[in-house]
């Protein structure tokens, strides 16, 4: 451990009345200062883990980074004290702050793939801080790094350091980044959503590795996440934040079992949408038959002999981890990637494989919604123009008729007519996704393909979107092909489920049957990897696994 605390028994980190502000430059207005964190206080004892939880904009990362006296962009710490090992780090000056970063406090970023320098070998980056701060010689630091690679169950720990970041998978990079943080033996590590960007089956491995490393090295940690179930696995205490203010702070058990605040209860119960499975009918209107598709002129097979059916007004959920072929199935159905073999029949007629050969009505009846709502809209068009476009294109509507229909659609997505004149940049993430839904609905489709539409959203917002989609299905009778890696979402929305693994459908049927044991090995892995809101779930899940995760 680093220097002994100045006052023997005090807490490792003691943040008092922290106030963080930022200058924002709204378009067309004078710049103004907004407050991101309002007088938040926290303490952290040596070797303990405090989870910081909240939705985006809650100030979790901002508070986490304040322990390193760091503000992203124009963010400034304007008030309060940050005591680390008994001294106020803001009084240390630039030199003092630089001396503690990478030495007393280290940081693990959300996307290790972006946080590693692509130009240098992993080992050089892992040992950089230790050498810089004189914690160890290069040889010692490299020895320590190899030991950490081994502890974090990285493959080939002796040589993985010689690789470049692009030669290592996302889950492995996240563990290398944890090793990098541990290498200089800091007193505190800030984990900023370290598993959020990973597949659910990979997340569990990385989570277990991080937890074990924290326990064995005795380092203290701030663990930041928007997923309460994940935080509950590693934290001793949890702090719930909202809009930069403290909502509730307590032991992990108390927060997830006996939340005192309404907002905390909402976070705890977020996944629970009751959805009654519809009767499986006999007449599918979309049938995918033995479809095989490949990229790179047939060299890389991404779909192998896939067959699924979609019933009118029902939802088929397609689940699997990244690379399993879920999105490729959507591309094959829409004609963006013409299948090599197999056929797709829609409303009794066989669809042309190629998009260019399809009739305008075929195009209209199949609409798509994407994960990234903000890049799926033209930033220079108003919401009214965006929703009005399919009305003009498919139905030749114009003028008052179109405006009336746009207003009607805005009502349907629970946004109100005033939004028609706004630009996408003026909407929140959830509102953007609603506009995309309205645009898809405007074409009066029979099927909407939803590709990870809630993955980029905060849990409560995602919940709202799911409820909206279910409501629209009941009203309009539209069917969904719902692509997701999140099994909780599947339970909330699906009538039937197809589980995909490496381009094949490994399990397919009505929801109740697919989710009923006995499971095949992959479905079991997938189901058992979804974090549950209970203490000790992680150890139980890891212990009970029948197959190793594929992505890693």
């Amino acid at each position: 451990m680093a220097k002994a605390p100045a006052n023997g028994s005090g807490p490792l980190l003691d943040i008092r009345n922290l106030r963080i502000e930022a200058k924002v430059y709204p378009p067309g207005e004078a710049p103004r200062t907004i407050t991101l964190v309002h007088d938040v206080s926290l303490t952290l004892e040596k070797g303990k883990v405090l989870g910081l939880i909240g939705e985006s904009g809650a100030g979790k990362s901002t508070i986490g980074l304040s322990s390193m006296a760091y503000g992203r962009g124009g963010v400034k710490i304007t008030g309060g004290e940050i005591l680390l090992n008994g001294r106020d780090i803001r009084k240390g000056g630039t030199q003092g702050i630089r001396a503690l970063r990478g030495r007393e406090v280290c940081y693990v970023a959300q996307s290790a793939a972006a946080a590693f320098n692509p130009a240098h070998r992993l080992m050089d980056q892992v040992v950089e801080a230790s050498i810089l701060h004189g914690v160890a010689s290069r040889a010692e630091a490299e020895k320590r790094a190899v030991a950490l690679f081994r502890k974090l169950s990285l493959p080939d720990p002796e040589n993985i350091g010689q690789r470049f970041p692009h030669q290592v998978s996302g889950g492995q990079l996240q563990r290398v980044m944890t090793a990098m943080a541990l290498c200089s033996e800091p007193d505190l590590i800030v984990f900023d959503e370290p598993t959020t960007a990973l597949d659910v089956t990979t997340q569990i491995d990385v989570l277990a590795a991080i937890k074990e490393a924290i326990r064995d090295t005795g380092v203290a940690a701030l663990y930041i996440s928007h997923d309460l179930a994940v935080v509950a696995q590693v934290s001793d205490e949890i702090m719930v934040l909202r809009h930069g203010r403290l909502v509730e702070w307590g032991g992990t058990r108390q927060i997830i079992k006996e939340p005192r605040q309404e907002y905390t209860s909402a976070l705890v119960s977020v996944h629970e949408i009751e959805h009654q499975e519809k009767e499986p009918g006999a007449n599918p209107f979309l049938s995918v038959r033995n479809v095989t598709a490949a990229y790179g002129g047939g060299t890389i097979k991404v779909l192998k002999n896939v067959s699924v059916d979609i019933l009118p007004g029902q939802t088929l959920a397609v689940v699997g981890e990244s690379g399993s072929g879920k999105s490729t199935l959507a591309r094959a159905i829409t004609g963006l990637l013409p299948p090599e073999q197999g056929s797709i029949t829609f409303a009794g007629r066989t669809l042309s494989n190629r998009l260019a050969d399809r009739s305008r009505d075929d195009l209209r009846e199949l609409q798509m919604i994407y994960q990234m709502a903000d890049v799926a809209m033209n930033p220079r068009q108003t919401v009214g123009t965006i929703i009005g476009r399919p009305l003009e294109f498919y139905f030749g509507m114009g003028g008052k008729e179109r405006d009336a229909r746009v207003a009607e659609l805005l009502d349907k997505i629970e946004m109100g007519r005033g939004f028609a004149d706004r630009y996408p940049a003026e909407l929140s993430g959830g509102q953007k996704q609603r506009v995309c839904i309205a645009r898809a609905l405007a074409a009066k489709p029979r099927l909407i393909i939803c590709d990870e539409v809630t993955s980029a959203l905060d849990p409560l917002v995602a919940n709202g979107i799911l409820k909206l989609l279910l409501g629209l299905q009941a009203e309009e009778g539209v069917a969904y092909l719902f692509i997701t890696h999140d099994l909780a979402t599947v339970k909330s929305i699906a009538d039937s489920i197809a589980v995909m693994y490496r381009g094949e459908v490994v399990r397919y049927g009505p929801k109740s049957e697919v989710l009923k044991p006995p499971f095949d090995a992959y479905t079991d892995l997938l189901l058992s990897s979804v974090p549950k809101m209970e203490i000790g779930w992680l150890e139980k899940a890891i212990g009970g696994r029948r197959m190793a995760s594929a992505g890693n």
Binding site: M68, Y70, R72, I97, R98, A99, L100, R101, G102, R103, C106, Y107, A109, S111, A114, A115, F116, N117, P118, A119, H120, Q125, E128, A129, L132, H133, R163, F164, H166, Q167
Partner: protein, 319 residues
Amino acid sequence: MSNPILKLIAQRIALGLLLLLAVSVLIFAGTQILPGDVAQSILGQSATPQALANLREELGLNDPAIVRYFRWLGGVLTGDLGTALSSRQDIAASIGGRLWNTLFLAFWAAVVSVPLAIILGLLAVRYRNGWIDKTISGLALASTSLPEFFIGYLLVYFFAVKLQWFPGISTVYDGMPFLERMKAIALPATALTLVVLAHMMRMTRAAILNVMQSAYIETAELKGLSPFDIIRKHAFPNAIAPIINVVMLNLAFLIVGVVVIEVIFVYPGMGQYLVDHVAKRDVPVVQAVGLIFAAVYIGLNIVADIAAIVANPRLRHPK
């Protein structure tokens, strides 16, 4: 080195050679459509029709253009650039010494300007938006905005006429001692440096600033590295490809774009040679010099492409 990178490099070189061939066609075609007749320009306005016809026959001007092109190309490939019409001298022999002079001047201008531009670019990033950055950018832009002949005359006025430190006319000859030679080229090399500095400096600054937005720069900051180390160790290696590109463009300019400077300082290089012979309508010389300039340009751009490929760790170390 692995296979994909060798393949990419081979592709670039093959493309470069193809491009050079295309340029040679263009140069040849361009000089053919110029008004005037080579025989006429050799013999002058008073030549008799018979003498003109004889000379055309002798020079092979009556052959079809395609035959003349391949004859010329064949000569170039075997080192025979033809004979200058005005002086009746072998072009390859006269170019040899002048090309060497031009390369000598370009080399010393590059030795000064490239490291200086990159260091100034790094400094500008380190103190971005501060007074150091603004001073560097301001001075560099000012020196680029001034026409090169004006810079040349300014240098001559101050350092040759007023202070008399360096000669105002850069005479060089064979067997000149090295230091004498360096003294002779001091002013033209300085003028060239001032011309190319700003472009390279601004591009270095922009390329590094672009990289400074990356998440791994934040990682480096949170390791406690000093700002200059962050720029040097973490930003610069990732900005190298665009920097090499702009450096190569400027090196090419130092060789092929020195015409004005060479004329001002009466420096016996390629540029002056070209200007002299354009004035005399000496088509074979213009063709030969044009081809050499094109080869230099294409060659340096191939070097830039290859350097960018080699600088990319994803290509150097495939999965």
